[in-house]
């Protein structure tokens, strides 16, 4: 692969990239190869890195890089069309054709592939994307590694046959309709020294792997939670009720209104500043109910825990929320 080489710093910058190639790599999975318009070099990256696709003013989605880091001129991602998606994956599938321009930030890496002599790699579904780059890195390093790759059906598993062709018996393909759930007990039952476990996939798989690895040395397990929550203002702005536990009041939040403004209208003082979910000033403790988080601050873990929310932009994912206000 050759391209004009222009040295780039590995800082996070927004780039205008072009969809150089688009192809379907499995059922519902489209692969995009992104390049600069002028074909110049892109920032370098390592296995586990992701980029942000800026798909609209309020629509930014993260996708793991799954290509070859040595190819400095193009980045490859694979995107699953999420069932019921109203945001990111729908925009990628529906709008990004070959030749389309797209804003890209990154790469950043929160899922670093640490050096080790042995690796157990586990991927579920589209979670194969960062794991595939890790398999290549492990192979390059001459490490002892295995990849267990599960999915609904063989046809839904992106890159399954490529991986098998390239690495042979190191790759174990386990479509669920043929083999059932992954046999994590035999894979992770015994903690092994000098071995790191990397897993990416849907939440139930991550939880199951975390449970099996409880007895492993600290730091042996690395997981990445993909598919950040997607939302769409029009589709999910249903009205709901908010109980203000401290003030002993209940307010209705209509569609198109924020919790912040509804609470203020009721005469209850709430601290706020940016009113767009970026500054964190209006963070409020959630006592009961499920939150539809729309801020840019909380981590996936904090969102899942649902103990706190930014009332300027986030809403209820249920009929009634109880807040410490």
């Amino acid at each position: 692969m050759s391209c004009s080489s222009k040295e780039t710093h590995t800082v996070v910058v927004e780039l205008d990239l072009v969809v150089h190639r688009r192809r379907v790599v499995a059922e519902g999975v489209v692969e995009l190869t992104l390049r600069r318009q002028d074909g110049a070099a892109l920032p370098s990256w390592e296995a586990g890195a992701h980029i942000d696709l800026v798909l609209g003013p309020d629509l930014v989605r993260q996708y793991s890089l799954c290509g070859d880091p040595a190819d400095r001129c193009s980045w490859r991602i694979a995107v699953l069309r999420e069932h019921g998606s109203r945001g990111g994956s729908a925009a990628v599938h529906g709008e990004l054709a070959e030749g389309s321009q797209v804003g890209v930030r990154g790469p950043r890496n929160h899922f670093r592939f640490e050096p080790s002599r042995r690796y157990v790699l586990i991927a579920g579904g589209i979670g194969i994307t960062p794991i595939m780059a890790m398999a290549a890195a492990a192979d390059d390093r001459g490490a002892d590694w295995s990849l267990t790759y599960g999915g609904r059906t063989r046809a839904s598993m992106a890159y399954a046959s490529d991986l098998r062709d390239r690495y042979g018996a190191r790759v174990d393909l386990r479509p669920q309709d043929e083999f059932g759930l992954l046999d994590l007990d035999s894979l992770l039952g015994e903690p092994a020294g000098d071995t790191l476990v990397y897993c990416c996939g849907p939440e139930p798989l991550l939880e199951a792997v975390e449970k099996r690895c409880a007895g492993w040395p600290r730091g042996a397990l690395h997981v990445e939670r993909f598919s950040p929550k997607e939302f769409d203002a029009q589709a999910s702005d249903h009205p709901f009720e908010v109980v203000l536990a401290r003030s002993g009041r209940t307010v209705m939040v209509s569609s198109g209104q924020s919790i912040l403004s509804a609470v203020r209208e009721a005469g209850v003082q709430v601290l706020s500043s940016c009113e767009e979910g970026t500054c964190g000033t209006c963070e409020t403790t959630v006592l009961a109910g499920e939150v539809d988080h729309r801020d840019s601050l909380l981590s996936e873990e904090e969102r899942a825990a649902g103990e706190t929310m930014m009332v300027c932009v986030s809403r209820a994912a249920c009929a009634k929320l109880t807040l410490d206000l």
């Binding site: 996070v12 003082q269 601290l271 840019s296 601050l297």
Partner: protein, 394 residues
């Protein structure tokens, strides 16, 4: 025809009491020419807020002071945050948002509360103290450098350094020159303190260096981001806490409200930021002709945004905009800026103020001035050098 005002907003009379001038500025028009400085100025809420959020028409990369970086080399390498624009700004800001996140704030709360309680306990025992030199300068200089992970020696250097940075945004006047002279000996300490080896293994500083390890920034950029914390994180909070104490010390009924409801400390601070904003002004530069309310500001112009004036604009805050009222909904004030450059340390400042004010409110029945407050003049900051107070324990 654009209105013109013949004032120099950086002269001592206006720095001491900016509000009469700011009223004239707001009422003169949405954008006003200041021929003495050769700049344009805005003092109304809507226009100031719009300019702060429109980073493309009003850029920061040519400096947020009077000096245009396109024409004159800045006194230090530009900040990667404050003196930068997207897209370059975006990644650095993302790193800082991770460093000062809701998670890190939760871990700081207990220590900030403990330090606030200890200080309040001692001040109440003394009955008479200076709300600036014994409180507003003491508390932030304890908890903030601890949170950054600075070494214990030399922290007094942070105040002259901050004073310099904020004076340097103004013209080359006596304040700027005095600040340079005072800060010159501490510049080396500041540079030294941003190195990885000088910082503790935990804290904001170590988190910034960890971002360099992850490849999100380069090792050359890490100390420049640490420097941003030291520039922007101390004086602003010192002035903010001092201004809150001044507002409360001159409004007895407001202290009574706070004493009855210590949980309102965060609202008292927010209202004080609106009422007497620590950072009064920032400049932007128009890279191209830009139309403001029907008038063209020509390409290359420096535009002076009066945050403190926007925060007192009756168009936004009502007829009592000039009144300090802690039951007011002050949300949306621009004391921390707005948009992509909105103060990244905002949650730290808010936590500091909430902890120290509520610690006092739980112990103090009454606060009164115990002598004349002494203003502290700075080209960008509004606040006090001394506020003698007497407190009556609860």
């Amino acid at each position: 025809m654009m209105p013109t005002l013949d004032d120099d907003p950086f002269d001592d009379a206006i720095l001491t009491d900016p509000y009469e001038f700011q009223t004239r500025l707001r009422e003169a028009g949405p954008v006003v020419h200041l021929p003495k400085l050769g700049v344009y100025a805005m003092g109304r809420y809507d226009e100031v807020r719009a300019a702060l959020t429109d980073w493309e028409s009003f850029v920061s990369s040519r400096g947020v002071g009077l000096s245009d970086f396109a024409k004159k080399k800045p006194w230090r390498p530009p900040s990667l945050l404050l003196e930068n624009d997207p897209p370059s700004h975006t990644g650095f800001r993302a790193v800082m948002n991770d460093v000062i996140s809701p998670r890190t704030m939760r871990t700081l709360r207990a220590q900030f509360a403990k330090d606030a309680d200890e200080l309040a306990e001692e001040l109440v025992r003394r009955r008479r103290f200076d709300a600036v030199t014994d409180l507003a300068e003491v508390y932030p200089l304890k908890v903030f450098p601890d949170a950054v992970g600075l070494r214990p020696d030399g922290r007094e250097n942070l105040l002259p350094y901050g004073a310099l940075a904020f004076n340097a945004f103004g013209p080359d006047n006596a304040h700027a020159r005095r600040a340079f002279a005072a800060a010159e000996p501490v510049l080396e300490w500041i540079a030294e303190s941003c190195r990885r080896e000088a910082l503790s293994g935990t804290g904001f500083g170590a988190s910034i260096w960890a971002a360099a390890d992850r490849g999100e920034i380069t090792p050359e950029q890490a100390p420049v981001l640490v420097r941003s914390l030291l520039t922007a994180g101390v004086d602003t909070t010192v002035y903010g806490i001092g201004n809150t104490m001044y507002a409360i010390g001159t409004h007895a009924d407001q202290w009574a409200d706070l004493r009855d409801n210590p949980g309102r400390a965060k609202f008292a601070f927010d209202e004080a930021l609106r009422f007497e904003s620590p950072v009064q002004t920032f400049f932007r530069t128009a890279p191209a002709d830009v139309e403001i309310a029907g008038t063209i500001v020509p390409a290359g112009s420096k535009v002076l945004l009066f945050l403190g004036s926007a925060n007192r604009d009756w168009r936004r805050w009502g007829e009592d905009a000039g009144t300090f009222r802690i039951d007011r909904d002050a949300g949306g004030h621009v004391a921390f800026g707005m948009g992509v450059h909105q103060c990244v340390g905002q949650p730290v400042a808010r936590l500091e103020a909430e902890m120290v004010l509520s610690a006092l409110a739980r112990r103090v029945a009454r606060v009164e001035l115990d002598g004349d407050p002494v203003p502290k003049l700075n080209n960008s900051l509004k606040g006090w050098a001394s506020i003698p107070v007497r407190v009556t324990p609860a």
